[in-house]
């Protein structure tokens, strides 16, 4: 066997081990069974992620690829929800299991919210139209085996259909550190606006978001100190004149990999992805983004700010892919890091791949310490060193937080940043 074939075989065996450790869903409708079977086949074909894979060079996939046993939904202590004060139904998951008894009633005017599991057991068209569909499209250019695994086994999650013109919100909180697979399917209908607020991080989560013409979707996510490996994927398909906006705060994620894969498929659509990473200690945060422009006059924007201390590592991999015919594309990407001390690391892998000739795409990346001149200026006015650092860190992270359209939500994130800095001591 050639070296390459050996490696592929090892990846396949690892994928088999992952699948066999997890219970196969039962009692599902034919369409769902079909999607599961295809996902299993796709996963075995692609194999589990390995270090030699192009997008796993900076993050060790072993902890993600290890076979895992699902945790149960046993009662555990509530955790503070950063979005508590926000007017939105709160939906709580424990170790990846939906707990209706701990959640507000699903559904409100202009918004249909259902649990994923029963949806998969019936002939419900929105389920069939979304489940695994955007995830499969997202594998086109780059294999994302952890998302395929999710499609093969995840039974817990929400199915959300927003139709109302009034702004709708749902706040979803994951509690507990046990292994759990969560899958949300979201469709925002033409002209509707919907906001998903996320706190806590399941060990494997996939969100598929389908935006119809003119739909608006906001996603604000707060990941505070998840203490084991977490892999998340957001897949979005954005139709004409629709707007997708996603922001993630990751603070001290032990080993967090956030992949966002969006596709602009209709003219005048926009996709904005932003992230603030605060990393201390021996933590590892990986933000991986793939934006596909497949229509004219679309705009995309990636803004990632990384504050890295201790021996933490932060990684940004961001790609803008412009297909033939996607003229007048406006693509922008910036990733920046402040390293608080020696030993902290930031790696950036910006990529542009462009097959249209009338586009404006730019990317930039910077890494450095906090500005010593600004530090001296602040301290010369009596601001102690730690406080001066905190001011400059907050200002730096704010350039990503400002990407959040709603200032109330932005302030919640700012509060989390302040808590993190207070905790640094």
């Amino acid at each position: 066997m050639s070296r390459k074939a050996e490696l592929q075989n090892a990846k396949r065996l690892a994928a088999e081990a992952q699948l066999s450790a997890l219970p196969m869903p039962v009692g599902e409708a034919n369409w769902a069974r079909d999607t599961r079977a295809k996902a299993r086949a796709r996963l075995l074909d692609a194999g589990a992620p390995a270090r030699r894979d192009e997008y796993w060079r900076y993050t060790n996939p072993e902890e993600f690829a290890a076979p895992a046993a699902l945790a149960d939904a046993a009662d555990i202590a509530a955790e503070p929800d950063p979005f508590e004060a926000i007017a939105a139904p709160k939906i709580r998951f424990i170790n990846g299991h939906l707990r209706a008894d701990l959640s507000d009633p699903l559904g409100q005017q202009g918004l249909a919210v259902a649990a994923l599991q029963p949806t998969l057991q019936q002939d419900i068209s929105i389920g069939a139209q979304l489940f695994g569909q955007l995830e499969a499209r997202g594998q086109d250019m780059v294999p994302r085996p952890l998302a395929v695994l999710n499609t093969a086994v995840a039974t817990q999650g929400l199915v959300i259909q927003a139709t109302g013109t009034a702004v709708q919100r749902v706040a979803y909180q994951q509690i507990g550190a046990g292994i759990g697979f969560v899958r949300h399917l979201i469709r925002v209908e033409s002209g509707a606006e919907f906001t998903l607020l996320e706190s806590g991080t399941p060990s494997n989560s996939v969100i598929e978001v389908d935006l119809a013409d003119g739909a608006i979707f906001h996603h604000v996510r707060v990941q505070v100190a998840p203490d084991s490996a977490r892999a998340t994927h957001v897949f979005a398909r954005i139709a004409g004149n629709a707007a997708f906006k996603s922001f993630t705060l990751t603070a001290d994620g032990k080993l967090t990999r956030n992949e966002t894969v969006i596709e602009l498929v209709g003219g005048e659509a926009s996709g904005h992805i932003a992230g603030a990473v605060l990393a201390e200690g021996d933590t590892h945060t990986d933000s991986t983004v793939f934006v596909t422009h497949d229509a004219v006059n679309c705009e995309s924007r990636q803004v990632f700010k990384n504050v890295v201390g201790g021996t933490a590592k932060s990684i940004f991999q961001g790609k803008i892919y412009v297909k033939e015919g996607a003229q007048k594309t406006d693509g922008y990407q910036i990733s920046q890091a402040v390293l608080l001390n020696d030993g902290a690391e930031f790696s950036a892998k910006p990529e542009l791949e462009i097959y249209a000739d009338d586009v404006a795409c730019s990317h930039g990346s910077t890494t450095g310490a906090l500005d010593p001149t600004a530090m001296f200026y602040l301290r010369s006015r009596g601001v102690p060193k730690a406080e001066a650092e905190a001011l400059l860190i907050a200002a730096f992270a704010d350039e990503a937080i400002e990407e959040i359209a709603d200032t109330e939500l932005g302030d919640i994130v700012r509060n989390e940043v302040a808590k993190w800095m207070a905790g640094r001591g």
């Binding site: 500005d371 600004a374 010369s380 006015r381 601001v383 406080e387 001011l391």
Partner: protein, 251 residues
């Protein structure tokens, strides 16, 4: 109040001596001016006193009311009452001017064991001081010095001084980049702070600032030392004759 004795300072990176035994004393209640040609070490003196990195003190001392300031962190010097109005005030994107002023004031109060100023009292204080310096609400809202004109930056320095009420103020070429009107505003701001308990060290190239801020003593600095000290008439002599004659006479 401020006593600098035989101060010797080198640039850390270049191993180049800038101050070569500088001595001066500014008693409380007095305004001293330092004049001197480019490269004489005026700005180095101000940075070393404020505690900027990159300088190595190889000899001599600097004390504020008997306390060794050279041993202190920059923020401790500020809390002890030392203030440097920068020649080039620093832009800090993302940090609001008001936040900056409040953080600085409260940090200094805290270090002196005083309570934090209440939000309404702080607003009142800033508004009244800002008005005297023709600083509008927009400048207070913007990030520190970002997008400020040269004159606005210098007025912002004086605003910080007025709010922090330091005992020893060092002004490093505060007149550079100012038009006549801005120079008047800045000078008025400084003169309003003149007080029996407060000392000033005004570093300048030109005599014109000293028409507005009348010094008690003028020092001429050259090649890292004070080479001549006199009354206000010394500044006029520099204005009329240039530095060459004075330097020749002390050489």
């Amino acid at each position: 109040m401020l006593k600098v004795e035989n101060l010797q300072v080198s640039l850390e990176e270049e191993d180049k001596q800038i101050l070569k035994g500088l001595t001066l004393e500014v008693p409380a209640g007095e305004v001293h001016a330092i004049m001197g040609p480019n490269g004489s070490g005026k700005s180095t003196l101000s940075y070393v006193l404020a505690g900027r990195d990159g300088y190595e003190v190889t000899g001599g001392s600097a004390t504020l009311d008997g306390e060794d300031v050279l041993e202190m962190e920059p923020e401790e010097r500020a809390a002890a009452g030392l203030f440097l109005a920068f020649q080039y005030p620093v832009e800090i994107p993302g940090v609001g001017n008001m936040t900056f002023l409040r953080t600085a004031l409260n940090a200094q109060r805290k270090s002196r064991g005083e309570e934090e100023i209440s939000a309404p009292d702080f607003l009142k204080l800033v508004r009244s001081k800002a008005k005297e310096l023709s600083i509008d609400a927009d400048m207070l809202k913007r990030p520190v010095n970002v997008g400020f004109s040269g004159g606005e930056k210098k007025r912002n320095e004086i605003l910080q001084m007025a709010i922090l009420e330091p005992r020893m103020c060092i002004l490093d070429e505060t007149d550079s980049g100012l038009d006549v009107d801005a120079m008047k505003l800045v000078s008025q701001g400084v003169n309003a702070l003149r007080d029996a308990g407060r000392g000033f060290l005004v570093i300048t190239h030109y005599q014109r600032l000293l028409d507005h801020i009348k010094p008690d003593v003028v020092h001429i600095m050259a090649d890292g030392r004070v080479v001549e000290t006199g009354g206000p008439e010394l500044a006029l002599k520099v204005e009329n004759e240039g530095y060459a004659d004075i330097l020749a006479s002390v050489a």
